[in-house]
C-alpha cells in the first residue's frame, strides 16, 4: 500500500519534470533508494505499472539503484555497513552511530528521447 502511493507521488513529480523540460518520451526512470529507507524495491517495481497506467511513463522502464546503509561509529570513528551487523560496530561492538548513507529516496534521473 505504501509503495503504491509513493509510486503515485513519483509520477506526479515526474509529470512536472517532463513539462518543465519539454520531454515527450521517457525511456527509463532511475530511482536511488537507500537500504535504510522503509521502501522495498521489489514492491516498488510491482506497484509501478499500476501508477503509470495511462500516463506518459506507461512504457518507461523503472531502474532502482540501492544505496548501502553506512554508519560511522561515534566511539571509534569506524565506518561500516549497518544491516549485516544490525548496527553494531564490528570494531568496538557498540551500537551508536551517525548515518552516512542509506536513507536516500531520490528520483535520480530520466533517460529520455
Amino acid at each position: 500500500m505504501h509503495e503504491l502511493s509513493i509510486c503515485y507521488t513519483i509520477v506526479e513529480t515526474l509529470q512536472e519534470v517532463v513539462k518543465e523540460n519539454e520531454i515527450e518520451e521517457v525511456e527509463a526512470i532511475v530511482l536511488e533508494i537507500g537500504e535504510l529507507s522503509s521502501i522495498v524495491p521489489k514492491y516498488m517495481e510491482n506497484c509501478f505499472p499500476c501508477a503509470v497506467d495511462g500516463t506518459l511513463f506507461e512504457k518507461s522502464k523503472l531502474t532502482i539503484e540501492v544505496v548501502e546503509g553506512i554508519g560511522r561509529c561515534k566511539r571509534c570513528g569506524y565506518s561500516y555497513r549497518l544491516l549485516p551487523v544490525e548496527g553494531y560496530c564490528p570494531n568496538c561492538d557498540v551500537k551508536d552511530f551517525d548515518v552516512i548513507s542509506g536513507e536516500e529516496f531520490i528520483i535520480k534521473e530520466l533517460i529520455c528521447f
Binding site: 503504491l4 502511493s5 506526479e12 530511482l31 535520480k108 528521447f113
Partner: protein
C-alpha cells in the same frame, strides 16, 4: 537508433508533498488555525483521548476533527456525539494521508470558525510518519499494552513527533512496561519530544496534555 539523453532530476521523492505541506501550513498560519496530526497504532485509544480532549477544551476553543480511515465511519460517528464539527476522510485503501488529502479535508471541514483542527490519521506507525500532512505539530499515542520497545521498532514515527502521549497508564501494574526505559529510547531518537503519560479513560495526566495544546494554540496565533 534514436538519440537519447540523460536528464538529472535529483529530486526527493517526497518533494512534491513536502512543498504542498509547507503551503498548507502558511495558509493555516494566516487563518489562525492550529492543525494537529494525531497518529498511533490501531487500538491505542486515539478516539477516547480525543473525546476527552474535546470535552475539556470545547468551551475554550472552536474545535474541528477530521477522521481518516481506510473505510468505515465508526470513529466519526463517535466524535460527532461530542457536538464539534467532524468529517470523515476515506483514504481509499491508502495507509496514510498526504498534504493534498489533508487540504481537501480542511476545505470540507471549513476552517473559518475553527481554532484547533485535529487530524486523526490512519492507525499505523509506519507510513504516516513518511508523509508530511501540513500539520503544525505531530502527536502520537503509544499505549501501555503495545510495549515499551515500540521506539526501537518504529524509530521514524518517534523522531518526527513533537509530543508523545503514553496512554493507559492505569493498567501499568498488569504489563511489563517500563516508562523510564521507554522515555529514554524516545529521547535518544528525538531529544526535543515532550512525553506525557496519561490514562484517557480515568483522566490521569490529561491536564498536562490540555496545557500542551493550549500553549501550542496560543503560540501559533501569536
Amino acid at each position: 537508433m534514436k538519440e537519447f539523453k540523460i536528464l538529472e532530476v535529483k529530486r526527493s521523492i517526497f518533494e512534491n508533498n513536502d512543498r504542498q505541506a509547507d503551503l498548507l501550513r502558511e495558509e493555516l498560519k494566516k487563518e489562525k488555525v492550529f492543525l494537529l496530526n494525531l497518529m498511533s497504532s490501531p487500538g491505542s485509544g486515539k478516539t477516547t483521548t480525543l473525546m476527552k480532549t474535546i470535552g475539556a477544551l470545547k468551551e475554550e476553543m472552536k474545535i474541528g476533527v477530521m477522521e481518516a480511515d481506510i473505510d468505515s465511519d465508526v470513529d466519526a460517528s463517535t466524535i460527532a456525539t461530542s457536538g464539534v464539527k467532524v468529517i470523515q476522510l476515506h483514504t481509499g485503501g491508502m495507509c496514510h494521508l498526504d498534504a493534498d488529502m489533508t487540504k481537501q479535508g480542511l476545505e470540507g471541514l471549513g476552517t473559518q470558525d475553527i481554532d484547533f483542527a485535529i487530524l486523526e490519521n490512519v492507525g499505523n506507525l509506519v507510513c504516516p510518519a513518511e508523509f508530511d500532512t501540513g500539520a503544525v505539530k505531530n502527536a502520537m499515542i503509544l499505549s501501555v499494552p503495545e510495549g515499551d520497545d515500540k521506539p526501537l521498532k518504529y524509530p521514524l514515527m518517534f523522531s518526527i513527533c513533537d509530543v508523545l502521549l503514553i496512554n493507559k497508564i492505569d493498567v501499568l501494574p498488569y504489563f511489563n512496561f517500563d516508562i523510564e526505559a521507554c522515555k529514554e529510547r524516545v529521547m535518544k531518537l528525538n531529544p526535543k519530544i515532550q512525553v506525557i503519560p496519561i490514562a484517557s479513560s480515568t483522566g490521569e495526566g490529561m491536564e498536562d496534555w490540555y496545557e500542551w495544546i493550549r500553549t501550542q494554540v496560543r503560540q501559533w496565533n501569536e
